[in-house]
């Protein structure tokens, strides 16, 4: 019982650390500038202020916000589908098949992930111009579909979780390589598909630098 109590206290302490600033953020739009500074930080302002704040944002540049939200939503969804279709098979191929260049591919993926993202903004922009893709949805969705982080998550998952014997057994039963992936590995990989899709969606939804 003592251990359980300590466990709950530790969990609640960290919950406070993670959640209090988020609560503050949710309460902020209900307060005026004056209230933000002089009231108790976690006090609730008024619903009226919240509505007025929202109205002002909503009216900004003739309802531009709706366009932004719609853009974020469709680009993110497109990004998730493309990223899953690329990253999960790639992680599987890197972990459970042997081919020449496998380690080179893993290394290059790692190098690209380590390269400071800020250094890639200008080259990406120039490249999109070159491909005549700037100002089109593809210039956002295609780079979103490139998700090396998801490739590594899938690679580590497949290399540490799926037993090769299981795949070998499926081959003996007459599955071809695609069938082994589709009918044996993929059903076992649900947790990692969910994880990659989730991280991809959040990273697309909150992405700022690449579209601008």
């Amino acid at each position: 019982v003592g251990a359980l109590l300590v466990w709950f206290i530790v969990m609640l302490a960290f919950t406070g650390f993670f959640v209090v600033p988020v609560i503050w953020l949710f309460l902020a739009p209900t307060k005026t500038d004056h209230q933000l500074v002089y009231w108790n930080p976690l006090a609730l302002g008024s619903f009226h202020t919240f509505l007025r704040t929202w109205d002002e944002i909503y009216a900004f540049q003739a309802h531009e916000l709706l366009v932004w939200l719609w853009n974020s939503a469709r680009y993110s969804v497109g990004g998730v589908f493309l990223a899953l279709a690329c990253a999960v098979p790639a992680g599987y191929g890197l972990a459970l098949t042997q081919f020449i260049g496998r380690k080179v591919l893993l290394s290059i993926t790692l190098i690209v992930m380590i390269m400071p993202a800020s250094a890639l903004v200008l080259p990406l922009f120039l490249e999109m111009n070159l491909l005549h893709l700037s100002n089109s949805a593809w210039s956002v969705v295609l780079p979103f579909g490139f998700f090396p982080f998801g490739v590594y998550l899938s690679y580590i998952f497949f290399s540490s979780t799926i037993a090769k014997e299981l795949l070998a057994a499926a081959r003996v039963d007459g599955c071809n390589e695609w069938g082994v992936f589709r009918h044996v590995a993929l059903p076992l990989a649900r947790p990692i598909v969910a994880l990659v899709g989730f991280f991809e969606f959040v990273s697309d939804w909150t992405n700022f630098s690449s579209p601008s």
């Binding site: 359980l4 466990w7 709950f8 969990m11 960290f14 919950t15 650390f17 993670f18 959640v19 209090v20 600033p21 988020v22 503050w24 953020l25 933000l36 930080p41 976690l42 690329c86 098979p89 790639a90 191929g93 890197l94 098949t97 042997q98 081919f99 020449i100 496998r102 591919l105 893993l106 290059i108 993926t109 790692l110 190098i111 690209v112 992930m113 380590i114 390269m115 400071p116 800020s118 250094a119 890639l120 200008l122 080259p123 990406l124 490249e127 490139f146 090396p148 590594y152 998550l153 580590i156 998952f157 290399s159 540490s160 979780t161 081959r171 390589e177 947790p191 994880l195 989730f198 909150t206």
Partner: protein, 306 residues
């Protein structure tokens, strides 16, 4: 006959390997390799200078290592790297100890409460990076922070006191932990869930207590995930940008606009218009990140699959 059949099968698997990575490979080249190559090219060429045309393509003048020497001699260069070294030391220790600690506590604790706490820990990670720093501008101002009691423990009564230069590495580590730890806790939790119940049960039968189970059984089994986290956390740490940039802007200059190397690169690119200098600093950071990654990959055999 048996031998030829075996090589035939392995050959098929080889080709299948390529098929699984092909689509990814195209995106990798387009949006990873080419932009990275161009950034490296910028680092080794001059912004102004005679261009050399080879057919339809024109190349900027080769600069050798001169961009690296010029930026390396800049008076802001060394302080920026010193700042980042102190920050990294704090950030990596805090991240590894607390992420693994919390993930193991969640996994070994009350199972029904796990999704609830995991969600709450992750919540800040779902905010956009810029929004999360703006939240912390308010969190760190003792006069309006919900943490004023904690800040007053350190006798901080005003924002300039809280943002004194010596405090900055620790403050950025706290912000980065607040935004980033939840995601890694989710990853580690997923990794721990992949451990089969049989392994854990048999360890329990052998008399392992919760501590031994966590340290001797669970941690070694998720080693690859930990190595991956270390590589990326190290690289991300050297590239610290949003936190000092926004905190500097919001606190009216209490944080230098060239506090971190990545900020210095941004400053040189936007204020001096010299993308080549900026690219050379990015390449410096890439090299530092790669050294750490190489060490970790080889020590952990991350690329080995048999």
């Amino acid at each position: 006959l048996g031998r030829t059949r075996r090589t035939g099968r392995a050959g098929g698997r080889n080709r299948a390997g390529y098929a699984f990575v092909t689509v990814y490979l195209v995106l990798l080249i387009l949006f990873g390799v080419l932009p990275t190559a161009y950034a490296v090219y910028l680092a080794f060429t001059k912004a102004a200078g005679r261009r050399v045309s080879v057919g339809p393509v024109s190349f900027a003048q080769w600069a050798g290592l001169s961009n690296f020497f010029t930026t390396g001699r800049d008076f802001r260069f060394l302080p920026a790297f010193e700042h980042i070294a102190v920050y990294l030391a704090i950030w990596l220790v805090v991240l590894v100890v607390l992420v693994l600690g919390l993930a193991l506590l969640l996994h070994g604790g009350v199972r029904r409460a796990l999704p609830f706490f995991r969600f709450l820990f992750y919540l800040p990670g779902a905010l956009a990076g810029s929004a999360s720093v703006l939240v912390w501008v308010f969190m760190l101002d003792p006069s309006i922070s919900p943490w004023h009691f904690a800040l007053s423990l350190f006798h901080y009564s005003s924002m300039p006191q809280a943002l004194a230069p010596g405090h900055l590495p620790a403050i950025f580590a706290v912000i980065a932990f607040w935004t980033g730890a939840g995601g890694w806790i989710v990853v580690m939790n997923g990794a721990l869930n992949n451990i089969s119940e049989e392994v854990i049960d048999s360890a329990k039968i052998d008399g392992a207590n919760a501590w031994q189970l966590a340290i001797r059984i669970k941690l070694p089994l998720i080693k690859r995930w930990i190595v991956f986290m270390l590589i990326l956390a190290f690289a991300a740490g050297t590239q610290l940008f949003v936190e000092p940039q926004l905190l500097g802007a919001a606190s009216l200059g209490m944080v230098s606009p060239t506090w971190s190397p990545n900020q210095l690169a941004y400053y040189l690119a936007t204020q001096n218009g010299n993308f080549n200098y900026a690219a050379s600093i990015s390449v410096d950071l890439l090299i530092v990140g790669l050294m750490a990654a190489t060490l970790l990959v080889f020590r952990s055999k991350l690329f080995q699959i048999d």
